[in-house]
Every structure is written in structure tokens, then in C-alpha cells.
Subunit: 325 residues, 2 copies
């Protein structure tokens, strides 16, 4: 189980390899939010998302023997790139299993980071079966995107930075909003803040229709989403809270906040305008919650994690259209 | 005349009020540039551009008496916002004289930062006459956008940070490309690097048709542009090099690099894709030069300043279109 000791150990392994991303704000956003609003800009992280932290943490936690054999991951998105970069820079072979209908750009990016991409047919093949066969054959270690204690520990280094950067700005109390898919970032940040900034409380933010963590926190047990697709927020459309992450989040987080796709697009546009940041839909749910659901928050300061920036140009153009007129 | 002592004094006054913006890079951009490429992300500065530095420097250098009377500036763009923020946070009244046909968004932004905006009719009125009358009447100090030693000293703090951040990354030799309008940022950065990183050389970057500094550096005397409008790069369409800045740049910089509007749009799109940064056209000329004019550069490292991010959504959407297909 991930704990603060593991997060601090991960932070030492990440040193020099992962960016300390800035904590940014703008008076125009404070005004909309009705309180001081700070954004932890993880979209500026290597590979464009916080997943570079978890990937680095997991690969660097392996024994030299296992690392030399290599790692394997299933992902069509940010975890693929984060893991591929970590593996390449630490000399570990890396296989990423992606659906053959994944966007060409994401396949190309993952290959450009040095990974071997194995494509599978979503309709007729099982990625688990392919992955298991490859793992056995080559001795690869499977790195899960969130249900892995060392991955969650890596994501938790975001929380260590938030605590330190907020303290530098004279802030010790805040509501901290975190985009939540499987809950690895949420759990890692919550554990880090429990230890380093105990007056901050974490609220997971999710898109409408994919509010499994909000509902699970409310009911106290794991609740599933009805759908597996259909949100703009592709990065955080997970079926249910993780088995490793939910017990932590149940203890430390909530209640969850839920935003619409329209609010997400508007938040992306406002980040463009006032922060000069490119945030992807799934990365903008916490900012959207801070801007448009302030009535559900307390206190005079909110910190929103902008967890990634890997957005298709056409989707970003749609966000810009909300600024017209 | 601005010198390193003034820049270091400005850095002390700016401490805690101006962001130390990150130095970012991406392997995909290194590949296009054919060498290591680092971007100094001044688009993430307060008010969305490096002008917040010069504004703060100039206002904080005034005597308490002059500061209490207030400051005045002519600008329809980034200098207006940088000066307005500096004045507001230091308790100085601020008047900005803007053309009545300036974009409504820029007028609104300047007002939101607390400045009194005085509009003038570009065709029938002289902004200098209006400014002079107001200055005399109220005892306001005129802060010029670049031809002011304390403004250039403030911009030079960007160079101090580049030297320190490059050294942290193990880099002491590099070509440093700086977007150049009147030359205040170029001169400030060049002076800072001469003192702190003498193996770095500054090259001003300009848009086609507004390459007055490149031509002036080549001829050794001040050359004017034929046109006063007509580039996408509105932030750096100045008529000629500054009287304060050119003597410095002539001594320390060059040769200049010149890019097309199409290259600027492409550079903005690549910064969106690989850096998750919003850069405005005038702010992207140095990045465009690094990406597309590498044949005119030497060495294995280039640092490009991304000087601002205040771009209209429609222009940014045009940049994104270069990624289609």
C-alpha cells in the first residue's frame, strides 16, 4: 500500500528527471472562482501529463534485473507516453499494447519515445491475453496505470510539490481539486497532503457520466459507471475506482465534484486566455469544478491540478469557440 | 544606460513579484531543430508576457513621491498590461493611452488591471500631445515600452534566469534567440548573458517586413521599416530600433534572424502540441527561427525566448489548422 514514505522515496528517484511544474494563477480566474485559485500545471510535465511521474517511479523501483528485462503497459494515452519515456531513459525495454484504432498521433508519439507498440483488435482480441503471453515470453513486468503502489507513489510527488509551493506562497489551508480516473493521482496527492499540509482537503473531480469515484465515496463502496465511452474527457474514463486507490481515497478525500463537457471546454478556453496553458479535457475537470462549482467548496483558496495537455487540435479549437462573441 | 548592475538591482526589486518562468523542451522539437532546443516560457509570466518585468522594474525604481503621483504609458498591448499591473500592486495611479480602435479585449484587460484607459482617435489626435497634457496636469511619469533604461533592466532579468537555469541543466554555451521589437528584451538579455554566461550569443528574431534590427545590425546604423502594419506579429511591429537599446544590441548581438508569418503559425502549433504552451505570434518568432532557420545557427544548443502568449482565439485557431492532415 502506498504511503508517505514511498512517496518521499519516489520523489528522490524522480529528482532531476521530472519537472517541478509551476503553480500558476490569474486575477481574472480568481474573480470567476470567487476566491483565490491556483493551478498546478502538470500539463507542462514531460510527455504532457503527470503520468511521467508514475511511470518513472515504477520503472526506477524495479530491481536492476527486472528493469533490464523490461516493462509492459496497456494504454492508448498518457500512461503509455509516461511509461515509455521512463523506460527509455532508464534503459528498460518497453512494450505498449494499444488498440489498432487508437489515434495515429498517440501511436506515433509512443513509438517516438522508444516503445515497441503492439496493436490489437479491440473487437476480437484480448489485450490481457496478448500482454500475458508477451510478459511470460520476455519476462516483462506489467506496470498498471493506477492500481500499482509505486505508480501512485510517483503521482503523489505532485502533492509534495503542491504543499511546498503553497507554503512558499503563504498558504496552508486550501481545497485541492484533482482530476480523477482510476484514482492514482488523487490517492497520491491525498497521502502527500495528509503528511505535509494537513489543513488541505482533496476532492476528486470527474466528468458527468463517469463519476464513479464521487458515487463510490458517497456510498462507501466501489460503484461502476454505466458507460465505457462517450465523454470528452478520454483520459479519465475508467470503469470504476481502483482496488489499490479507493481504500486510500475513501479515507482521505471527498466529496467528489462532477462537471459537464461544456464546463470543461469553457475551463480550457479560460486557461488559454488567462494562463497560456494548453489543458486537455480530462485534465481540465478540476479547474472546471473550481470555476463553476465554487458553491460546493469552502474557504478562500482552491488549488486545481491541471493534470495533462494532450488534446487533439480539433477539440482545442472547439474550446476556443466558447470565447467567440 | 542599462548595465548588469542595474539588471541585478532590478532582479532584487522583482523578487516575489515576478515569476521565474520555466525553461522547457521536448524531444520532438529537438528533432525538428536538429539540436537541443530549450524554450524560456515568458508567456507564463504575469499578464502573459515579459513586459510585466520591465513595468515592475520601472515603477519600483521611481522615488516614492513620483510613484505616488503615478505613471503613464502609450500601448495597445503587452506593455499596457505589464505597466498597469506593476502600478496597481505598488499603489501608483496609472493612465494608459490607447487607440479607440484597439481590440475591446485589450482595453478590458488593461482596465481590469486597474489602469485608467484614455482612448484617442488615431486619425485625428496625437497620443503624445494627450499624454504630455495629462503628465503635466497630474505629474505623471512617462514609462516608455523599451527606450527606458529601467525597463530594459527589468527585461534583462529574463537573461539572468536563462543563465542560471541553463547552468542548472549543465549548459554554458548556446545561441539565444530573442523576439525583437524595439529591442528592450534583446538588450536586457544580451547584457545579462555577457556578464553571467559569456559563451552564449544573442540573436534577435523578427518577422518578415519588420526586420529593422536585423538590417540595422548588418549596416551598423538605425534602419527603419517601410511599413507600420501588416504582420501577424502585432506585439513587435516597431518602426525602428530604439535609441537606448540599439547601441547595446549593436555591440553584443547578431546577426538577426527573420521568419515568415507561416513559420510563426507553425511554431505556435508545435508549441501547442509538444510544450502545451500558448504563444502569441510576436512571441513565437524566436522559436520559429530555432525550428526553421537552424542552418544559420551554430553549436548543439539553442535557447528561444517565448516572450508572450496574448493571442486572439481566432489567430490561435489558424495556427492549429497547420496541424490538420
Amino acid at each position: 500500500m502506498t504511503d508517505i514514505t514511498m512517496i518521499e522515496a519516489a520523489a528522490r528517484r524522480l529528482q532531476g528527471h521530472i519537472r517541478r511544474t509551476p503553480l500558476l494563477g490569474a486575477p481574472q480566474l480568481d474573480q470567476i472562482a470567487g476566491r483565490r485559485l491556483l493551478i498546478k500545471a502538470e500539463c507542462l510535465q514531460h510527455t504532457g501529463s503527470f503520468k511521467a511521474r508514475g511511470g518513472w517511479s515504477a520503472v526506477s523501483a524495479l530491481s536492476p534485473e527486472l528493469r533490464a528485462r523490461g516493462v509492459i503497459g496497456y494504454s492508448s494515452g498518457n500512461h503509455a507516453q509516461g511509461l515509455a519515456r521512463a523506460a527509455a531513459e532508464q534503459g528498460a525495454p518497453c512494450v505498449i499494447i494499444m488498440p489498432s484504432d487508437a489515434p495515429a498521433l498517440k501511436i506515433a508519439n509512443t513509438r517516438a519515445l522508444g516503445a515497441e507498440v503492439v496493436l490489437y483488435d479491440r473487437a476480437n482480441e484480448s489485450r490481457e491475453a496478448i500482454g500475458e503471453a508477451l510478459s511470460k515470453e520476455r519476462g516483462l513486468t506489467l506496470i498498471r496505470p493506477y492500481d500499482d503502489p509505486q505508480v501512485a507513489a510517483g503521482q503523489g510527488t505532485t502533492g509534495l510539490e503542491i504543499a511546498a509551493q503553497a507554503a512558499e506562497a503563504g498558504i496552508t489551508r486550501a481545497e485541492v481539486l484533482v482530476p480523477c480516473g482510476g484514482g492514482g493521482l488523487t490517492a497520491g496527492v491525498a497521502l502527500a497532503l495528509q503528511a505535509k499540509a494537513p489543513e488541505m482537503r482533496v476532492h476528486p473531480a470527474e466528468p458527468e457520466g463517469f463519476d464513479d469515484t464521487a458515487r463510490s465515496l458517497a456510498s462507501g463502496r466501489i460503484e461502476r459507471n454505466d458507460r465505457l465511452s462517450g465523454s470528452l474527457c478520454d483520459a479519465i474514463m475508467t470503469p470504476e475506482p481502483g482496488a489499490v486507490t479507493f481504500p486510500i481515497n475513501r479515507l482521505l478525500c471527498g466529496p467528489g465534484l462532477v462537471v459537464t463537457d461544456a464546463q470543461v471546454l469553457r475551463a480550457m478556453a479560460l486557461a488559454f486566455l488567462h494562463l497560456k496553458l494548453v489543458i486537455e479535457p480530462g485534465g481540465a475537470v478540476a479547474l472546471a469544478a473550481a470555476l463553476f462549482h465554487g458553491d460546493k467548496l469552502e474557504g478562500d483558496t482552491v488549488i486545481a491540478v491541471a493534470s495533462g495537455g494532450n488534446v487533439e487540435p480539433a477539440v482545442f479549437a472547439d474550446a476556443l469557440k466558447t470565447l467567440a462573441g
